[in-house]
C-alpha cells in the first residue's frame, strides 16, 4: 500500500471513529456510555496522529498518543469517581437530571414520555439454597436497593 494511501485510509477511519463517538456523546444519556463515546473520539484522534507520524517520519505523533493515553487514564479515574458520586445522589446515571446550571428563567428539562421496557423479564438461574437463609431487615433491604 502506498504511504499516501495508508495515510488517507487512516484519516478516514479516524474521522469515522470521531464521528461515531460524537453521536454517542451527543445523544446517549447514560453517563458511562457518554464516557465510552468520548474515549472513542480520542481513539479516532490517536489514529490520525499515528498515521501522520508515520507519514512524516516523525516521533511526534506517537509521543502525543502516549500522552493522550496518560490523560485518558486520569480522566477515567476522575470520571468514575464523579459518576459514583452523582449516582449516589440520584440513583441513576441519567445525565439529563443534572441541569442545575441553566439560566434562572429556563424551565426544567422534561422528558418525553418514557416508553415501556420492551425487554422480557430476564430469567435468572436459581441455585438450591445452601444452609440457613440470613435474616434480612426489610428496611435495610429497602434502603439498599431504593435507588435502582
Amino acid at each position: 500500500m502506498l504511504e499516501v494511501q495508508l495515510l488517507y485510509n487512516y484519516l478516514v477511519i479516524g474521522a469515522l471513529l470521531f464521528g461515531i463517538g460524537l453521536v454517542g456523546l451527543l445523544s446517549r444519556r447514560n453517563m458511562l456510555i457518554m464516557f465510552l463515546a468520548a474515549e472513542m473520539m480520542l481513539q479516532g484522534v490517536s489514529l490520525s496522529l499515528v498515521a501522520f507520524g508515520r507519514f512524516h517520519n516523525d516521533w511526534g505523533g506517537t509521543t502525543l498518543v502516549i500522552l493522550i493515553l496518560t490523560v485518558a487514564a486520569c480522566e477515567a479515574a476522575i470520571l468514575l469517581a464523579l459518576v459514583q458520586c452523582l449516582f449516589h445522589r440520584t440513583g441513576n446515571l441519567d445525565i439529563a437530571v443534572w441541569h442545575d446550571l441553566r439560566d434562572a428563567n429556563q424551565p426544567k428539562f422534561i422528558d418525553q414520555e418514557v416508553p415501556g421496557d420492551d425487554a422480557a423479564k430476564p430469567e435468572w438461574p436459581t441455585l438450591t439454597p445452601a444452609g440457613i437463609e440470613p435474616e434480612v431487615d426489610a428496611d435495610e433491604a429497602l434502603e439498599h436497593r431504593i435507588h435502582v
Binding site: L25, L26, W98, D103, Q106
Partner: protein, 676 residues
C-alpha cells in the same frame, strides 16, 4: 573651617533634613517638640549662610572673570543625548542636560542669610503663636520644606531648577495658606493663590522655552563648552546677547519672565492672591508672604537683568507695572480695616516699589530694588509678627475697628510695631528711609530724560505719602486711643509670651540699623554678582553713591506729612475722618478703595464665570454623551446576553452540540476557502 562647597550644600540640606524628620516623626513622637529640629536646622543654616557670605565677600574677582561666582555641580539630573538646539548664532549644543548645580555669588549670598535669619526668628515666634495647634508638627514640616525650597531657589544655577523650586515654594505657600483647611476661606484662599500663580508660571515657562531655543541651554553658568545664559563668556562679551536674541524675542523673553515674576510677587494684574493669602497663620504671612517668597520675582528679575537690558521697552513695562501696583495697593490699603490686609496691600505696594526700581534699568536702580527688598524683609516681617502678636492677644480678632489703645496691655508689641511702622513709612534713620531714598533717587535719575518716568516718579512720591498714612493709621487705630478690647477677650488681653516678643525685639533692632549700616556696603557687595557686574548692566562707571539731599528731604517731608495727617484724623474723637469717609462715600471713592477696585469681581465675571460655564458644559457632555457611550457599551452585551440566555438550558449535551456545531462551521469555512 568649612569649605565653600560644603556650605553651599549644607544650607538647603539642613532644613530639608529637619522637614523630613518632622514630617515622618512629628505626628507620633515629636508632637509639641516638633519645633526643635526645625529651629535648630534653620539656625544652623543661618550660621552657614553667614559663613558663606564671609567667604564670598572675601573673594576678589580676578581680571579674567566678570564678578564673583562659585558653582558646584552635585549630579546630573537629566541628560538626553542629541536633543540639543542648534541655531546659527550659537554653537551646537548636542545634549539636553540639566545638572543639579548650586552657585554662590553676592546676590545669592545676600538672599541666603536674610531668608534663613528671618526664617529662624519666625520659627521661634511660631513656638508661641502656634502653641497647642493640632497641626503643630505639620506647620514645622512645611516651614522646613519651604526654607529648603527657598534657599534652593536662590542657590540653583539653572533655569529649569529655578522653575522647579519656584513651584516648590508655591506649593509650600499653598499648603501653608490652607494650613487651617477646615476653614472654607482658608481653603479657597489657598486655591486662589495656586491658580493665580499658575497664570504667572505659564508665562514663566514660555519664557524658559524661548531661552532654551535661543541659547540652547538653561544653565546660568558656563559648563564645558556650553555657554550659560548668564555665564562668564556671554557676560564678558555682552554684544553676543544682541546676536543671539534679536527683534521681538529680545522683548518677549523679559516680558514672559516678568509675567512669572508678577504672579509670584503679586504685581498687577496678578496681585489678587496675596491679600487673601493672609488666611494662613501669621508667621507664614510674615515669612512667606512678606519677607521671602514674594520677593522671588524681584530676585529672578535681578538675576536676569542682562536679558532685561536688551530692550528698553521691557524695562519700561517692568517700571510701569511696579509703579502702578505700588500706587494701586497703596490706595486700597487706605480703607482696609483688617490689620493684616493693610499689611498685605502694603507688601504688594512695596514689591511694586522694588519693580519700579528694577525697571529703571540702571545699576543704581537694581541695587536700590535689592536693597529695598533687603530692608523690607526685616520691617515687614516685624510688622506681620506684631500683627500676629495682636491677634494672639485678641483671640484671633484682627478687625481694627474692634480694638484700640492696646499700648497699655501690649507694650512690647506696641513699641516694636511703632519701629516697624516708622521704618515702613521711611522716617530717618530707620531702614525704610535709606532704601526708599535709593529707589526714588534711581527713578528720579531716569526722570531727567522726561517721558513716562516723570509720572512714575510722582506716583512713587505719592505712594510714599500713602504708605506713611496707612501705616500710621493702622498703628493709631490699634495701639492709640482709649483701651478697647473685643468682648470675646474679656479681661484676658495680655502681652505675648517671650518666644514671640524676642523675635519682635530682634527684628525691631534690625529694622533700625540695617538701613544705615548697609546703605552703601550692600550695593558695593552685590554689584560683584556676575549678572550685575557685566558692562551691559553696570555700564562703564559701575555703582556711584550719591546722597540726594533733595529727594531725602522730599520723602521725609512726605512721610511726616502722611503721619501727621493720620494723627490728625485718627487721634482724638475721629469726627473728621467720619466726615471725610462720608464725603468719599458720596463720590464713590471710598467703596472703590475699600472693595479693592473691584478686581475680584471683575476677575470673577471675566474668568471665573466663563470657566464655570465651560465646566458645566463639560459636565453635561461627560454626563450625557460620554457616560451615554459607556453605558451603551455596557448595554450591548446585556442585550445580546438577554437573547443568548434563552439557550442556557443547562443540559450538558446541548453545550457539546454547540461546540461541535462551531467546529463544523470552522471546517466548512476552511473547505470553502481552500477548495471552493
Amino acid at each position: 573651617m568649612f569649605e565653600t562647597k560644603s556650605l553651599m550644600v549644607l544650607i538647603p540640606a539642613l532644613p530639608l533634613a529637619a522637614a523630613i524628620i518632622v514630617g515622618l516623626l512629628g505626628r507620633r513622637w515629636l508632637k509639641e517638640y516638633s519645633h526643635v529640629p526645625v529651629v535648630l536646622a534653620l539656625a544652623g543654616s543661618c550660621v552657614f549662610s553667614l559663613l558663606l557670605l564671609k567667604d564670598i565677600s572675601n573673594r576678589e574677582p580676578d581680571a579674567k572673570q566678570v564678578g564673583v561666582e562659585v558653582t558646584h555641580t552635585l549630579w546630573t539630573w537629566a541628560a538626553i543625548p542629541a536633543a540639543g538646539v542648534t541655531t546659527p548664532q550659537i554653537k551646537a549644543t548636542p545634549n539636553f542636560q540639566i545638572d543639579i548645580t548650586l552657585r554662590a555669588d553676592p546676590l545669592t549670598c545676600m538672599m541666603l542669610p536674610m531668608v534663613t535669619f528671618i526664617a529662624t526668628l519666625v520659627a521661634i515666634y511660631a513656638m508661641g503663636y502656634m502653641h497647642g495647634d493640632p497641626g503643630y508638627w505639620r506647620f514645622y514640616a512645611y516651614v522646613g520644606l519651604f526654607v529648603f525650597s527657598m534657599t534652593m531657589l536662590v542657590s540653583v544655577s539653572n533655569f529649569a531648577l529655578l522653575y522647579v523650586f519656584w513651584e516648590a515654594v508655591g506649593v509650600c505657600s499653598y499648603l501653608l495658606i490652607g494650613f487651617w483647611f477646615e476653614k472654607p476661606e482658608a481653603a479657597a484662599a489657598g486655591k486662589k493663590a495656586f491658580l493665580v500663580n499658575r497664570v504667572g508660571d505659564f508665562g514663566f515657562a514660555f519664557g524658559l522655552f524661548l531661552i532654551w531655543v535661543s541659547f540652547g541651554t538653561l544653565n546660568f553658568h558656563d559648563a564645558g563648552d556650553v555657554q550659560g545664559v548668564l555665564g562668564q563668556t556671554l557676560l564678558a562679551n555682552p554684544a553676543r546677547y544682541a546676536e543671539i536674541i534679536t527683534g521681538s524675542v529680545a522683548l518677549a523673553i523679559p516680558l514672559l519672565l516678568m509675567v512669572g515674576a508678577c504672579g509670584k510677587s503679586a504685581q498687577f494684574p496678578l496681585h489678587v492672591w496675596l491679600p487673601d493669602a493672609m488666611e494662613g497663620p501669621t508667621p507664614v504671612s510674615a515669612l512667606i508672604h512678606a519677607a521671602t517668597m514674594v520677593t522671588a520675582g524681584v530676585y529672578m528679575v535681578t538675576r536676569c537683568s542682562p536679558l532685561f537690558m536688551l530692550d528698553p521697552r521691557a524695562q519700561l513695562v517692568v517700571a510701569c507695572i511696579g509703579g502702578f501696583t505700588a500706587l494701586l495697593a497703596g490706595l486700597i490699603a487706605l480703607t482696609q480695616t483688617d490689620l493684616k490686609r493693610v499689611l498685605a496691600y502694603s507688601t504688594v505696594s512695596q514689591l511694586g516699589y522694588m519693580f519700579l526700581a528694577l525697571g529703571t534699568g540702571s545699576l543704581a536702580g537694581i541695587v536700590a530694588g535689592m536693597f529695598h527688598l533687603f530692608t523690607h524683609a526685616f520691617f515687614k516681617a516685624l510688622l506681620f509678627l506684631g500683627a500676629g502678636s495682636v491677634m494672639h492677644g485678641m483671640h484671633h480678632i484682627i478687625d481694627m475697628r474692634r480694638f484700640s489703645g492696646l499700648r497699655r496691655v501690649m507694650p512690647w508689641t506696641c513699641l516694636t510695631f511703632l519701629i516697624g511702622s516708622l521704618a515702613l513709612a521711611g522716617i530717618v534713620p530707620l531702614a525704610g528711609f535709606w532704601s526708599k531714598d535709593q529707589v526714588l533717587a534711581a527713578v528720579h535719575d531716569r526722570a531727567h530724560d522726561g517721558g513716562p518716568f516723570v509720572y512714575l516718579y510722582y506716583s512713587a512720591v505719592l505712594t510714599a505719602f500713602l504708605t506713611a498714612f496707612y501705616t500710621a493709621r493702622a498703628f493709631f487705630m490699634t495701639f492709640m486711643g482709649p483701651l478697647v478690647v473685643p468682648h470675646e477677650v474679656g479681661d484676658h488681653a495680655h502681652e505675648s509670651p517671650p518666644a514671640m516678643v524676642f523675635p519682635l525685639v530682634v527684628l525691631a533692632i534690625c529694622s533700625i540699623f540695617v538701613g544705615i549700616t548697609f546703605d552703601h556696603s550692600l550695593g558695593d557687595f552685590i554689584v560683584r554678582t556676575p549678572s550685575l557686574a557685566c558692562t551691559l548692566v553696570a555700564g562703564e562707571h559701575g555703582l556711584e553713591h550719591h546722597f540726594h539731599w533733595d529727594i531725602a528731604a522730599i520723602s521725609t517731608v512726605v512721610a511726616v506729612l502722611g503721619i501727621a495727617i493720620a494723627a490728625y484724623f485718627y487721634l482724638g474723637d475721629r469726627r473728621q475722618i467720619n466726615a471725610l469717609t462720608r464725603i468719599m462715600q458720596g463720590v464713590r471713592l471710598y467703596g472703590l478703595s475699600n472693595r479693592k477696585f473691584f478686581f475680584d469681581e471683575i476677575y470673577h465675571v471675566l474668568f471665573v464665570l466663563p470657566l464655570k460655564g465651560l465646566a458645566a458644559l463639560s459636565y453635561l457632555i461627560d454626563r450625557w454623551l460620554v457616560d451615554g457611550l459607556v453605558n451603551l457599551c455596557g448595554w450591548i452585551p446585556r442585550a445580546v446576553g438577554a437573547v443568548l440566555r434563552n439557550i442556557q438550558t443547562g443540559v450538558v449535551q446541548f453545550y457539546a452540540l454547540a461546540m461541535v456545531l462551531g467546529l463544523a462551521l470552522l471546517i466548512g469555512t476552511l473547505l470553502v476557502w481552500k477548495v471552493g
